[in-house]
Subunit: 371 residues, 4 copies
Amino acid sequence: MAGNTFGHLFAVTTFGESHGPAIGCVIDGCPPGIVITAEEFAHDLGRRATGRTRHTSQRHEADEVEILSGVFEGRTTGTPIALLIRNTDARSKDYNRIAEQFRPGHADYTYWKKYGIRDPRGGGRSSARETTMRVAAAVIAKKWLAEKFGVVVRGHLAQIGEIVPHDFDAAHIDWKAVEANPFFWPNESQVEELEDYMDALRKSGDSVGARIDVVADGVPPGWGEPIYGKLDAELASALMSINAVKGVEIGDGFHVVAQNGSVHRDRMTPQGFASNHSGGILGGISSGQAVRCSVAFKPTSSLRLPVQGVDVHGNEVEIVTTGRHDPCVGIRATPICEAMVALVLMDQALRHRAQCGDVVEITPGIPGSIE
Amino acid sequence: MAGNTFGHLFAVTTFGESHGPAIGCVIDGCPPGIVITAEEFAHDLGRRATGRTRHTSQRHEADEVEILSGVFEGRTTGTPIALLIRNTDARSKDYNRIAEQFRPGHADYTYWKKYGIRDPRGGGRSSARETTMRVAAAVIAKKWLAEKFGVVVRGHLAQIGEIVPHDFDAAHIDWKAVEANPFFWPNESQVEELEDYMDALRKSGDSVGARIDVVADGVPPGWGEPIYGKLDAELASALMSINAVKGVEIGDGFHVVAQNGSVHRDRMTPQGFASNHSGGILGGISSGQAVRCSVAFKPTSSLRLPVQGVDVHGNEVEIVTTGRHDPCVGIRATPICEAMVALVLMDQALRHRAQCGDVVEITPGIPGSIE
Amino acid sequence: MAGNTFGHLFAVTTFGESHGPAIGCVIDGCPPGIVITAEEFAHDLGRRATGRTRHTSQRHEADEVEILSGVFEGRTTGTPIALLIRNTDARSKDYNRIAEQFRPGHADYTYWKKYGIRDPRGGGRSSARETTMRVAAAVIAKKWLAEKFGVVVRGHLAQIGEIVPHDFDAAHIDWKAVEANPFFWPNESQVEELEDYMDALRKSGDSVGARIDVVADGVPPGWGEPIYGKLDAELASALMSINAVKGVEIGDGFHVVAQNGSVHRDRMTPQGFASNHSGGILGGISSGQAVRCSVAFKPTSSLRLPVQGVDVHGNEVEIVTTGRHDPCVGIRATPICEAMVALVLMDQALRHRAQCGDVVEITPGIPGSIE
Amino acid sequence: MAGNTFGHLFAVTTFGESHGPAIGCVIDGCPPGIVITAEEFAHDLGRRATGRTRHTSQRHEADEVEILSGVFEGRTTGTPIALLIRNTDARSKDYNRIAEQFRPGHADYTYWKKYGIRDPRGGGRSSARETTMRVAAAVIAKKWLAEKFGVVVRGHLAQIGEIVPHDFDAAHIDWKAVEANPFFWPNESQVEELEDYMDALRKSGDSVGARIDVVADGVPPGWGEPIYGKLDAELASALMSINAVKGVEIGDGFHVVAQNGSVHRDRMTPQGFASNHSGGILGGISSGQAVRCSVAFKPTSSLRLPVQGVDVHGNEVEIVTTGRHDPCVGIRATPICEAMVALVLMDQALRHRAQCGDVVEITPGIPGSIE
């Protein structure tokens, strides 16, 4: 139940502050025999990395992963896998001024009220730097899910400010296009528009929110633990635990509020489901369709636009954030969202196997079962 | 990690099927000394009960709670509290026909694929009947939170189909009005409109979704466990675990996608926060403001409108649901949403107390702390 | 982590006080499809029941198990299994006098200091009555372990006071003899001696301790979770959690203190292990040999021999326990010890399956693996 | 539930293999504000270190702890504390020969059967090197327990082979003597005898077991979670999880088997308990007396005396262990036992505070409570 551990059977414990000596994680419960090398982490860490485009923070991290344990001659051994990344570009002096101020929209005040002490360097533990390790841990999960079940977890930016993708069809996403631009945008023809939008935004000193969609294809039916460990409940928790997330939807999400049941209920045919309003989850258990979710990222509160605030002594002060920050944190959050979905699926896959075995046998002679 | 237990320190384990002999729960970790009687469960169970209005299912349950353990001479003893409700109005024959069919939009197919066997009577374990015990368990949580901290958790219907409350101000909700009508609607002048809407809906044989807002007032700053046990992450999980929920928002929710950071960041003043876009949570920890969340309920898929589907043998069949079902399950879900929020807060209150004690002391001499 | 739940994946939560309305349990995570009826609990509950012989407490409980959930048409469905036993022979007036006294050697004082309140009726939650539900839950575990793996868990009394079994060979235990006498004693020729011993003990008003051995045959190699979930560590916890237990041994136990390594290390041959000093566990993982453990039960402190003690006001009082109590609680503890061993093995079997699958494949080409 | 995490609220996750790049741990849930420096780990790590005397393994580890996170300006912040120790004296070539052999009495065979792969270098994860991190984590626990409650956890060697301490009185242990000799022996006059014994043992090529006693003074009444999280149950698990442990006793331990209840039950007087047969725990909850436990360590199986065994191909082979090994692993296990007791107490202290608060209030007017 420790707050810094994610997952029950594929359990990822992360540690580290934004400007401390290092960040890292320990992955416990990993199946043995998975081939993995330190190099394999580079791809997704690169996709997530700050500094990828001029539209994201200019902090440059090498993000070189050292495998400290749990891998022998290139294969996981079933013992805990510790991953370590040294913080090499932490400029703590950037943050000295804010040590006695509460930045609006940040966790400064709440950490201080919770613990009576906080590490102000770069946001300390509350920095999105922590999500690096989620992405790293998910590299192993993604690999196992793909090799064993053919599961593929992919995400894309679905809205930034008021801009939405043109000619978008959720059933036929151009994943190559998504990977070909720094916004993870599903329509390449809009990339220039997005760049202009971001340039104007940066010039204004303000920030904006974003929506990210994640799709997991190939998830077999049967994953998810009713009642409180439902697949959708755990996805909601996993995605809401990402910094700056304020909303999570499964399938049609909030559109269901004004929907009719005759529309929403996905009809089954002998050939399979005829639609996917449910987002691939029924009763908290995967149905075999694509698992679809959508996430809302708030605009960052770290702005060079000054704002009145208070300091730790209760005095009113003017607060200006001068560090390196993204005007839209959602832009590089796609790999993080994918990571959390992959971690949930990995954990649920193991939990399902524990209770029901590798192969579920249909009980004969029981109503509700094939005879 | 068991799928039927909610909470880590205030741990509620529920059991029971819709048409089995009984439903119940075990509450472990409850603080000792709380005054509680079997009668105190009646209020919230009544608010949730089926049959409260002609707009909800006509199944009539007495829902009389028997306290089996954990209470001595009217006070909790710190040992597990078992609550039991016998199922008295379970008409299983209503469901015989569906034993070999997969109702669209239900968990029939997924339970069967997961377990290889399912209890088809009334949806078995996947029925919303299970939520009765969430409401019961939360009665104790609500009481403790109110007595010890002054926390009050209240919800209301915020949208049904396309209908939204008139003259609504989230900062000044008329909670008396909410409780005065069977829709938990915050504006009494619209009740007749809602009744007409529901009558027409029932006549059509179709169903519709709903949105519910929950507000927790009085939550002290400091509750919530970063990183994966964030208060908002656990609220998301708790609310998404309710049957039929497809989306969860904290604070401004999906509105943040098109918001600017200069708008979103809640300014602090010596007198407190100047706004509450965050929904009372920063960095996963409560800020001392009202905790606000919003939930989307899908339209029920149990319709008397026939639909083509498949049976357990893979044959195409026509499916008509004839049991007693609500045309809008969201109508009576308000107490359930409140319950889940209360359970999350209760658990987080105990977790915070475990790590930081009853009173958090500010560490002197550390930047970020008062000297 | 709740104190009243045992197991992680096969999670048993018990509830109920000795003289409350009922005791019960909820088993979560049970594999689906196991055939089980209410009648199947009778055998082991009968073996454990008070009143079986004149040497155990004269409290008579019917101990009829009602299955409230999780079983459909005689098979487990994968949803939580709730079992309920009504307390029918609870004579609370027997205990009225002790409500304000702290019985020496009991939990009266510690519960009161922990919770500030206690249920004094029959020891409340601290009564060994709670162990009934452990035995009940283990009936399902024993059945699954036996059917799926051929695992058989059996125990016997190994010492009572100074009396030890004659002609005893741990490798060839006469299990029929064990079941044929009310002491679970492995040598029937000593039963008369034991009865005389117990008669004299009861006459004296005193009590005595006992040692119980449990053997699990058929455990496959590979069960156990290093480092902190070692099979032996979990057995130690499970057995020590039984009322009155003060010591646990695995394999040679405390005899290893004066043993040489050349004796202790169990030699392997192409035909298997040549001895079993380890008790079937190496590095916290089962070796495929019989898992052997031994448990020490203290003598009950509930004696009619008066003793000076204190009451809740701090005054010195004379304490005499007049209720129905066993002069040797170890006598009927054999089924309880078996139950805890079975519950540990069940949970570990599921955990092993989660991480490593139903069939473990040897990684080729790695030193330490077959090529 | 991950196998490499110890504790629920003060949760210690360890990682690392004996001859991998590093070992380490992450401590989650630590109370904020504790003063701690990297230097403070040296004392207990030194007490545990190999190479302390000529009677223990000649492997020399610097064991320098690096604090990677969770500490800011010398105080814990409430975020996860990661500790890292690089392995500097790992001579893997010593172990090359055993990569394809199963050393008798070791975990080689069981890891291989569990995971299908194992890291043979120095025993990999099953090496006692892992216990270094238990000792490190417990340094923080010991400090908090001492400062907040005055709890002191100390252990000593109580038997080695057939040798027991002379003139030993468990109620008056000479702790200065214990720390003054490399055996943690409570009677300095026997140190020469022990050295002669060990010299003869090493010369013989054989090994021997040991018994260690641990005493925790100052534990307040009320710690421990009935039923399955009993203080004694968790101590049993914690101690049994240490490499080579085969038995655990609380209080009088196995002596209770032949004890009478009139002797065992510790009488209470207005001045406190008159004896401590229970080992300071009643009903799984601390009584306020000293918590006493005793642990049996088996003789190491790593001997230069050859033994017939099998290799991974099933062939019979002669096995000789030539690495650096202790002839009595129990000698330097005292700090490890202390560490596990401290970790259990720390976790239970937080759990107690969660449920019952910093100060337990007696419920007035209830039998069993002061009026």
